[in-house]
Structures are given as C-alpha cells and as structure tokens.
C-alpha cells in the first residue's frame, strides 16, 4: 500500500516505464559491477537521492519501504560476520576474515535495493505490468499479477470493514478475544474470495473477456525521448563505473 501510494503520487509516474526500467536495470548492473564498496555505496546514495528529490518520495516513506529489505540485509551480513557454533557448542564470535566480503555484499545489495526502490516508488504497478507485457512476459503470469494486485485492495477493504465491525462489538477487547475474532475474520474471508472470483469472472464475461485479461496502458507521448535519455544516462553510469574501476 505504501509503495503504491508513493508511486501514484510521484510526478515521475508520467515518465515512460520503459525508460525508468532501463535505468533501473543499468543501476542494478552497476551495483553488481561496482569495483569497490565505496563506489557501490556512492551509487546507492545517488539513487536514493534521485528517488527522494527527483521522484519526490518523502524520506519517511522511503525509509519505511526500505526497512524490511534492510532488515534482511542486516541479517544476511550478520550471518556472514558472526559464527554461532563451534566444537564447544553455542559460542558466537566475530570472523575478521568475513569483514571484507560482508561489507562488499552489503554495499552492493544497498545499491541494488536503491535501484529497485527507484523503479517501484516512481512507477505504479499497472505501468510495470504493461511494460512486462511489452517485453512478452507470459500472459498467465501477467493476468495473475493484475488480479492479485486488484484483489489486494479489495480484501484489504473487506478485512478493514470486518475488523471494524468486530471491534465495534468488543471483538478485540483482550488478547484472547482478539485472536478468536481474527480467526473468525480469516474464515469469513475464504468464502468471500470464492464469491469474488466468481463475480469477477462474470464481469469479465460481460465485457467479452473469455481469454487473457487484456488492458491498454496509458499513452506516454514522450516515451522515445525518455527512453533515449535513459539509455544515454545508463551508458554514462556504466562507463563511469568502469572508468573508476
């Protein structure tokens, strides 16, 4: 929801998703090819700045969107840096020889994360799905993505309404009642999923949709120029990283 809200609020949502996708891909490649952790961190900072200043994503939202990935990253780096076991059982200790690979991994991952956040925080998902369709991604996968994305909001709404109705009748007064109410809500959602699936199928049939779900993405009138800009910037980024190597 947070990512979706940021993407729809970003002024860069009107930029061709192909151009942003190309730049993000180049940035990912740059993160992988970055010869030193310092350069990877520089790239991550540059991309974060671009997302915050260019795509106008508020800093608190950016940090919240990045937090789960940063948590995983911290855990991954820690598992490289520390050894938990030894011959004498549980004895956590720092591995000095793992410091260098852990820093390199962390820096590259940060740059890759910043590249992905740049793309998803400035591009609404329907635009990304349209881009994947242009790239000949399998239709069934795209249909699933489109429906899952739509259903996410429908069920968030149903869940919220159900929870509010339960809370209004003291369903969440106390931990035990709250747990029971949550279980009832989850059970109630299951038939709703079935019903909703049937209804959406009927709705698609009424508009002659008996095959793949085909939608038309909005027009990006300056897509060619934007793609050319993205290609030039991407090339510059990769050449710059190569020169610094």
């Amino acid at each position: 929801m947070l990512i979706d809200r940021c993407a729809h609020a970003s002024p860069w949502r009107r930029i061709s998703p192909a151009a942003k996708g190309l730049f993000a891909l180049a940035a990912l490649l740059g993160a992988y090819l970055a010869p030193s952790p310092g350069l990877a961190l520089g790239l991550a900072s540059g991309l974060a700045l671009l997302t915050l200043a260019g795509a106008r994503v508020p800093l608190p939202d950016y940090l919240r969107a990045a937090a789960p990935a940063l948590g995983f990253l911290a855990l991954g780096c820690a598992s490289l840096l520390f050894s938990l076991g030894g011959p004498e059982g549980f004895s956590p200790r720092l591995l000095p020889e793992a410091l260098d690979p852990a820093v390199r991994l962390g820096a590259r991952s940060l740059a890759a994360l910043a590249a992905l956040l740049f793309l998803v925080l400035s591009t609404p998902l329907p635009h990304l799905i349209a881009l994947l369709r242009q790239l000949r991604c399998p239709e069934v996968l795209l249909d699933l993505m489109a429906l899952c994305y739509r259903m996410l909001f429908v069920f968030a709404c149903v869940f919220r309404d159900g929870r509010t109705a339960q809370a209004a009748r003291l369903g969440h007064a106390g931990a035990w009642r709250s747990l029971r109410s949550l279980g009832l809500l989850a059970a109630g959602l299951l038939p709703q999923v079935w019903l909703r699936a049937l209804e959406l199928h009927q709705a698609a049939q009424l508009r002659l949709g008996d095959g793949p779900l085909r939608f038309l993405a909005p027009n990006f009138p300056r897509a060619r120029q934007e793609l050319a800009w993205a290609a030039a910037t991407s090339l510059g980024l990769l050449l710059g990283l190569g020169a610094l190597a």
Partner: protein, 286 residues
C-alpha cells in the same frame, strides 16, 4: 410481447440451485430508446431479471428475446448479445477488473478486437461521458464509491451498447452524487441508448422513467407509462412501493385549489407550477 421490443421477457421462470425462486412467469418488454425503471421489494426479482437480460442466467422456463429473437446461449451468441447489451452491477467492486481506471475502461473495447487507436478514442469518449477524464491515470482503489460506479459505466459505455442495464445505480450515493448520476443518465438517454434500471427510489423512477415495471415475487405485476402512475396506486402498493412524495403534496395543493389537477413529475416541476400560480395567489390570498 410487443413486436417492436428491443428486449423482451416471455413468461420467464428461474429457480436457483437451492430451490429458491428468482422469477415466476415474468413477462415484460423494453422499447428501443426508452427509459425504464424496475420497481419492487428486495427479493422481487429485479437483479435476476437484469442478469437474464445479458444471458448470465438461463430461464428454467419461458424465454428472453432480443429484437424479437430468442437469446442464443452459445458462446458466439452470448458474445454477440454482450456487444449490444451492457450491465452495470450494483457493487462496483464486483465489476472492476483492473486496478487502473484507464486500463479497466479499455478492457471491453480491446475484447471487441478494435485497433488500438480506436480503443483509445472510445476510452477517452467514455471517460468524458461520465466526467472522469481527470481521473484516467488514477488507481481505482483511490476513487470514491460514486467514482467507481462511474468507471463501471464508462467500461460498459466504451463498448457502445444499444441497451444499458443498471442494477440499483443510485444505491450508496449521497444526494449531490445522485443528482450528478441522474444528469448522466439523462445524457445517455439523450444519446439514444435504451436504459433499464432497477431502483427502490420511487420518486426518482417517476421523475426519470418513460416506462415503469412493477415486480413482485418474481412476476411483473404491470408495465405502464410513468405519467400514468398516479392512477396505478393499487398496483404500486401491491409491489410494496409508496406513492411518490410529489404526488401526495400535489394532491393536497390541488384540493386547496392552488394547482391544476394534472400532477407534476418532480418537486421542481411542482415548485414551477406553484410559481406560475403565485400571481393569482397574490391577487387573491384568501
């Protein structure tokens, strides 16, 4: 059934799998270019009738006809029917397939096999018709309930149907939104689109429709021109509907000799009639 009917129901019966009744020998017809309102209690069969109109349900007895021919329930037949008849569900969440307004409206015309440029034209025209041009880039979950309903209508309008079926289009809308919606329906009817809608709002039905169809317990009790409603009070009561407020008010004022006997269709018309009578009232206040 009238030979000139666009859509006709001839003694249509519908039983659901659990044995409950949907329709019980329901017969009515819809004239081309007319504005029709279905009135009836909850469970009278209004939604079931609309679902039959687009072939989503198949009668257990009787038949549904489009332009005088029985519906063809083959895949090709239904495809042909649904190019010409569009249905807007009561709950917009039931109808919106894509998370983006523009994409959702494009779904139908793309399925018609139209070229991209033509689809874009139709999407723009449909969004303009429902007043949502500025929302074309927005996600549907960011829209209000009324706006979502408009997106649903745009999605059906983009297929340029001859007959538009709307299941309780005013349900869940606040006063200003209902007035906007009424203006939109007026505009669509002005374009020559035949409209059949179900509603519980008898005041709106009397004000807006050309023809009223009263449903009760799966049957069509009566179909008559809306202007005849003041003379159909018994039928209206049998269908569980109250008399439109404007008729009660008019009757009192007519009894007082303040207004002519011919009843108006809306409160606005009644006020205009009162304004017309005002000079006489001022001359003779007693």
């Amino acid at each position: 059934m009238s030979g000139e009917a666009l859509l006709g129901f001839a003694a249509v019966c519908q039983r659901y799998e659990d044995g409950s009744r949907g329709l019980e020998g329901c017969s009515l017809s819809i004239r081309p270019g007319s504005r029709n309102a279905l009135l009836g209690r909850n469970g009278a069969g209004k939604t079931t009738l609309l679902l039959h109109g687009v072939g989503l349900l198949r009668p257990t007895r009787g038949q549904v006809e489009f332009q005088g021919r029985p519906l063809d329930y083959s895949r090709a037949g239904l495809r042909q029917l649904r190019q010409r008849v569009g249905l807007v569900f009561q709950n917009p969440e039931r109808q919106l397939l894509s998370a983006s307004v523009y994409e959702d409206v494009s779904f139908g015309p793309l399925n018609l096999g139209l070229p991209e440029a033509r689809v874009r034209q139709r999407v723009e025209a449909a969004l303009a018709a429902v007043g949502l041009t500025d929302c074309r880039e927005r996600a549907v979950h960011q829209l209000s309930f009324g706006q979502k309903k408009r997106v649903c209508i745009a999605g059906v309008l983009a297929m340029e149907p001859e007959l538009l079926l709307l299941d309780e289009p005013l349900a869940g809308l606040d006063g200003p939104m209902q007035r906007e919606f009424e203006a939109l329906l007026e505009q669509l009817a002005g374009q020559g689109i035949t409209i059949l809608l179900s509603t519980h709002d008898v005041d709106f039905a009397y004000r807006w429709a050309d023809e009223l169809h009263l449903l009760s317990e799966g049957r069509c009790l009566a179909s008559f021109p809306a202007r005849e409603l003041p003379r159909q009070q018994a039928l209206l009561a049998a269908a569980g509907q109250a008399l439109p407020a404007v008729l009660g008010l008019h009757r009192r004022l007519a009894d007082l000799g303040l207004l002519p006997a011919e009843p108006p269709r809306s409160l606005d018309a009644l006020l205009a009639a009162l304004d017309g009578a005002a000079p006489d009232l001022k001359r003779n206040p007693a």
